[in-house]
Subunit: 236 residues, 4 copies
């Protein structure tokens, strides 16, 4: 009996750990004889962080770390892994593990019709019939895809070969470690917001990841987040 | 009529450009008042490069560049993109382009049976019947895969959505720029050689890319390549 | 007789090599089946490069290289070396070489009086007497500095120890290799310009280096440079 | 009355914070459905970490952070800042702050006589008279150096200009954040040990920093440190 396939239209970004705080960022900025004491001056923290953000002094934000465990389809990881600087990754390997039977299918509310011109696309809902057809088509394809994968494994084919046909909508999992600076670079590029100085057009599925990352970022570094929002979401 | 699907069991790594030479590496190492003149002393070049390699003085090798245009399946690019330092990438995007109908299928001689334990696998040939079955199965899956992709596009589904089910064996294309130092790091990890100080167990398909990269590297930087081979293929 | 000391109020940034062009940047952006042919469409090049710059698609600019040989005082190299990403350095080492007797002293026209508040300083000329005194004082100090250095070396003190007292205004030399993207990041931070979206307040001496780098950059990548200027000198 | 100058023959590397542990490294390596539980299997931790180290799987070690506040002379920071990957720095700036009056002078036991050939120097003690002379000479120079610096500041010269003559033995201060992988790369290059697979010849003063970093590293990541030692101090 084949493994049951799970379909998901969401992603998981689980908080794992972090180091540092708004105060640490100010402390690293001051780096004077009594930096820790000076950084603790709460009244001056917002202004100091806003100054760093506005004038793009980025290095103090690097003295922090954020760590997440992410579950998302391969096509999302492909985009995420293009972020090279200030990002560390460890992803489950299809060479050593059998990938679990979880596939991404779009939700009914996922816009599927592309309008506009290259570089500035926007997306609109498909008609209900088309959405339903597509969801069914994706499920059917994924079921067949995993069945072929399992059949190859059962015949003794090596994992690294059996996985060659897997669809980029299969889920995989990774540990990702970044810092407050690289996090802002990620948020700037992977969310679409009205208040951005520089417009971005991310694929919706990586934006879903970015939105969860952003919630954690805003919670852990509230002053930095406020200054990021106030200064056009430009990574310093 | 559906687009005809092309099946390949090889990869393309096309030389596009480079900057620098063995002599330039020596020049950057000397960086003295008359570095260019001193570097031109041909008799001393091999010894100087061997010294850099042996004692792992890596920075002089960075004053060079190599550029390739690569065509390979997604599962190869997924591994390649994990090289972050000293690597620049621009890959064809399935969000903006329709990916061409080219898929990777294993050749008859591709070892498909995995033996040994995790971390030190080796691979052996499957029996001819199994190989034939697998090749047929991969072709069948790829044909269906592309047919679904085209059907979605015909129905007006956005490219970034239509591509979600594509198999990781579909071909894509990228420009990659690296330097002699990051190139040696790549070769060290992505080839399996007897004379390596540190053993590597690359997937065969990225090793096929690495072998072509290595040919170009050996041609453009012959003394550096010789020292790399003589010192256990350890990236300095 | 002590070595004669040379005083300089300028810096040297000598072009050594480069790879790529505006056309190559467009080619790496297109990365389609016929990228090279498409990139050669001269009429479309400016618009394409402007699009990359405006929307901050930075990666195509990385498929290029620029190489310089720089002579400047240590306090300039200290700032330059803080640029980590997309920069390779090889600097003359005071551990292995005897540093030549060349020191930086300010020119008569160097603004030496600081006005304004931290983070937004500007500088004004000192009165002529003060300028003259300072120049004399710097020369005197440098002469004594090199004399002590030589005396230690003559007594057989190791180079790495003898150099410990050298002033940060002594000249040193390095090879630096960067790409069009990291070059724009450098220019953005190390020049002070009215048309910058984000203001920078570089020390004049590194700006002197940046101005020469900028001339070479504008010559080698004219369309990219034009788009950089037109879009607020923001590194993409 | 001039500021009193402090002379030091040691350095300060103060632990500030860290994230992660040996267990987290194993967890990031496993990245499977139940990675956290599996990583907690204490009996398997040493073997797993040793496997990563031996076969140079470096990425799991990056999911950690270490943070120090360092006080050392400029000539040490110049070497330290050449470590670009996996290192974040914030240093006190002589443009904005007046540097405190602390200078490095060698201790009586600092070897000052260089023997051997380039690339493989070793150092021996100078005779007592020479050592004493050198220490006196360094102190005298430093006193004069700081006196000139203060005089310029008193005359209203801008900080960024007044500091131009400071000796590279003046102390400065920085925050540095790294991870377990970049830490091992630093230790490998900046200590001289018999059990190193690849020999290094660091200047003694940066080795003094590295030794303190190593103590903290060994305390926080004991299994990783043991595997580093057991595998020739090669950064994975």
């Amino acid at each position: 009996m084949p493994t049951e396939v799970t379909f998901r239209s969401d992603v998981t970004v689980e908080y794992r750990d972090h180091m540092g705080s708004d105060e640490r960022i100010v402390e690293a900025m001051l780096v004077s004889t009594d930096a820790a004491a000076a950084a603790a001056d709460l009244a001056k923290q917002p202004g100091r962080i806003n100054f760093l953000m506005r004038d793009r002094h980025g290095s103090p934000f690097e003295h922090t770390a954020l760590q997440f465990v992410v579950e998302a389809p391969i096509f999302v990881f492909r985009e995420w892994h293009r972020h090279r600087i200030g990002f560390s990754y460890n992803e489950m390997s299809g060479r050593y593990s059998i990938l679990p039977a979880t596939y991404y299918v779009i939700g009914y509310d996922r816009n599927t019709i592309q309008v506009g011109k290259p570089g500035a696309y926007s997306f609109e809902p498909g008609d209900p019939e088309l959405q339903e057809w597509l969801i069914g088509d994706m499920k059917e394809e994924s079921l067949e895809n995993y069945a072929r994968y399992e059949r190859r494994l059962e015949k003794g084919i090596a994992r690294e070969v059996a996985r060659m046909g897997l669809g980029v909508n299969i889920f995989t999992k990774m540990y990702v470690t970044l810092n407050a600076r690289s996090c802002m670079s990620f948020l700037s590029l992977r969310t679409k917001r009205e208040n951005s100085t520089f417009p971005s057009f991310p694929q919706r599925e990586i934006e879903m990841c970015a939105e969860i990352v952003e919630d954690h970022f805003a919670r852990i570094f509230p002053l930095t987040y406020k200054a990021f929002e106030a200064n056009g979401r430009v990574s310093p």
